[in-house]
């Protein structure tokens, strides 16, 4: 597979480490959310046959975490974004 890194251009997937569903960005606040919310965050996942947003880490590269939108049926990569940009757009801060 080839991942089109938003900064570095097309890179072989072997340079990356896969984590999983990009919903991991939406971590609840531990001071306000309870065990149920964290349980849902950590363990419950959609398993779509089609477009899937997922986190990849460019470990053998610039150490960027990326959000890759990949079609799980064809492996077509529809979009690649810096996870930091996605997280900030979703309202994450400090």
């Amino acid at each position: 597979m080839i991942i089109n890194h938003p900064i570095l251009g097309p890179r072989d997937a072997q340079e990356f480490v896969y984590l999983g569903d990009a919903n991991l960005i939406n971590r609840p606040d531990g001071m306000t959310a309870g065990i149920e919310a964290f349980h849902d965050y950590l363990y419950n996942r959609d398993n779509p046959a089609g477009a899937h947003r997922e986190l990849w880490y460019h470990e053998q590269g610039d150490r960027s975490w990326l959000v890759v939108t990949r079609n799980t049926l064809t492996h077509e990569i529809l979009k690649v974004e810096l996870a930091r940009d996605v997280a900030k757009a979703q309202g994450r801060s400090k």
């Binding site: 597979m1 080839i2 991991l24 001071m31 959310a33 880490y57 975490w65 064809t74 810096l82 994450r92």
Partner: protein
Amino acid sequence: MKQSNRISGGQIDRSTSLHFTFDGRSYLGHAGDTLASALLANGVRLMGRSFKYHRPRGPLSAGSEEPNALVHLRTGARQEPNTRATVAELFDGLHATSQNAWPSLRFDSMAINDRLNSFFTAGFYYKTFMWPAAFWEKIYEPIIRRAAGLGALSKEEDPDEYDKGFLHCDILVIGAGPAGLMAALTAGRAGARVILADEDFRMGGRLNAETYEVGGMAGADWASAAVAELMSMPHVRLMLRTTIVGAFDHGIYSAVERVSDHLAVPAAGKPRQTLWRIYSKRAILAGGATERPIAFENNDRPGIMLAGAVRAYANRWGVAAGDRVAIFTNNDDGLRTARDLQAKGVDVAAVIDSRQGGDLLAGIRHLQGAQVIDSSGRLGLRSVTVRLASGATETISCSALGVSGGWNPNVNITSHHRSRPEWRSDIAAFVPGAGGPAGLTAAGAASGALSTHGALATGQAQALAALADLGKAATAGELPRAEDAPIAISPLWYVHEGKGRAWIDQQNDVTVKDVKLAHQENFTAVEHLKRYTTLGMATDQGKTGNVLGIAIMAELTGQSIPATGTTIYRPPYTPVAMGALAGRSRGREFKPFRLTPSHKWAAEQGAVFVEVGNWLRTQWVPKAGETTWRESVDREVLATRRSVGICDVTTLGKIDIQGTDAGAFLDKVYANTFSTLAVGKCRYGLMLREDGIVFDDGTTARMGPHEYVMTTTTANAVTVFRHLEYCRQVLWPDLDVQIISTTEAWAQFSVAGPNARRLLQKIVDQDISDAAFPYMGAGNITIGGLRGRLFRISFSGELAYEIAVPTRYGDAMIRKLMAAGAEFDAIVYGTEALGVMRIEKGHVAGGELNGQSTALNMGLGKMVSKKKDSIGMVLSQREGMNRDDGYRLVGVKPVDPKGSISAGSHFMEIGAPVELASDGGWLTSKVFSPHLGCDIALGYLKAGDQKIGRKMRAVNFLTKTDTIVEIVSPHFFDPEGERLRG
């Protein structure tokens, strides 16, 4: 050594004679021959024994689809099993032997299987060797493995090198027949970067095996001219002897180039094979088609071949498949073979044509409406029995029979992303279906365009389409003139008469009868058919047999072939040597060591090393007269506790963390608090996973208001850093914090023992008295002017420091430390002594940080601050992880000091039955403590904190130990920590 079947013509160099042997007999061939063509030229038809029934077999084909003619090539360490004689390029001195036959190819004792064939039908193994289960491993499997099987490995180390490489192109063209050459010419002329790869050692594909004209010249000559033009283009790379074995995502293809397989020994510095990864923007599959046989009784005798192979041997290699050849066909292609042989002066006994009507061949006995119903000749074909249109039978003597049941496009690679081939009834074959690898199109025979003109036209058209996709301007040049004859096929899959076996998949010995049995037992779906009969599961992946088997099943079920469907293909297209997949990752290169800065010094001292992840660390350093490892380790522990010991701890992960939010960041990633840590101090940190399980631990020092240095365990150095990047970028993207791994930047040594300070003060420029550098102090120092770092931390329970210098000074540093320590009898201790001392102190490490344990389990529950949000804080509060009767870290020692305990033992109450229900936990780490003079251990015991002082059994079935132990505090040594602060 007369080449009795050599005839005129062909693309061989008759001026070069090559000597070779097969099963100990010497023969002559020519440059340009394959092993199969040379053996056939010498009148040798018998080349192997079949897999299951040990039937005598000769080559069926003249290419990589070959199911039968599998041989050992070469001798000694270079012996290679299961090579196909039909693609093995002849070289002088080639040594080939037959396989799967004993004592000899002509008299194979296992041919008894052939007589017992009624027992060995499809499903035989499933039905026969089912019980008793214990018999499988000890009795059935060894017998089956000995009897059935292919070649044997040399069992010696492969002396050759294999390489890997990466290539990039605009358009990859797979196959260099007329379609591939035309595609490459079209793309190359338009200036595209082209790679043209072909598995053969001569480009041209079927043009080399046919007598057709292309553009007014012999097809083979047109191919040569095309290759010459392509070679003149610097942006075109031609790759001979290169098989595209798999299609992967995003235009990536893997290819095996057999760089030196055609040589006795690779040239100096050259690999035997290279595995290429080709990155392409577009790819054109021009892989041609494979002929399929027609099944009839005894259709597997040596001398019975595909008609196109008979033609290839005659036209390309100047070899008559036999002195008298018959043809059995259901389409016009078989007639070509007869005409070509006739033109070469080979005696054509008859053409048995299953079709009725149409023009009769001139000057050849052409039997229309006839079928071959049987054959004779134990070790080679002697005659065929023919059912004539009249209903009468006739026996026709012949030494070779060419069979053509039609051609199957080589769709294999188009299926590598699960696309299913589609049936085309006009050519009675499967063609590439929709949904194949993105960017890949098929041209020529691979796409179902079976004529030469069709190949040229589709090759050009697909190249133009690819160029247009890539935005490259190109014009369609005039196509060279070529034949465009239809195949005129009238499908015939198998001859319906005869009680004997008619072979479909010759490599796995699957017969028409097996397919009928599968049908009878309701294994009618193609995937069931495949697994029940093993159809297509051999090393040739059923290239000649699959479609035949599927068509016969379709006939039996009364379904159409498209309704029956087809199995699909997976990589590799042809078998790939393990060596090619390994490349240079062999032996030590498979997993290179990382060496610590003191490695050279330690090796000079005769240190014993141990692999820790990728690192090689000193395990202990034996002294003269020490005969067991325990003597060395005990001495290292006692010497450290008595005076001072030094240990290289560079392997621990080191991460620099800087920024105005560095403290806040550490509060989020550690369970305990770091933002309140004073500058110049260290603190032990516990890191959890989000699920509340302990992830890692280590000490982190605050070097400045916005600057921390974190240490991690050796094992988790990489994963902790990845996790920190995740927290920093994904979870809290606005934190002002930067991190960088400095594991390789600093050589770090632990200096431990009552004399540690005295030793270090000799070399450190600053005052490091207890007042100036108290317990858990940290700071930048200099060592004779060299910048360094000092941390007063201890893993051993002694007064201890870790001192760090830039890595390039690591070797000098260990020598300086040892010189300065000479007056204190300083020693170096290894990982074993380190383990003894940390267990004596009750510190957790690998055995306890097992990915299943919580802070509470480790007795560190109070470290998880609930006043702040940190990774794992919330889920560590789950009820099940906070039970009073959960596991707690305990110390363990045998009641009898001479008693032996072993790690992995399980705790049982004394008197309780030794069974799972009595299991109270397990021992995680065990050492002999020279300080206490007995074995000691750590362990996780249910409600362990309430069981201090209790006596229990420690039972271990693996080491067969069962010892009465006392549960104690995990702090065996200096529980008050007075020595640390000394």
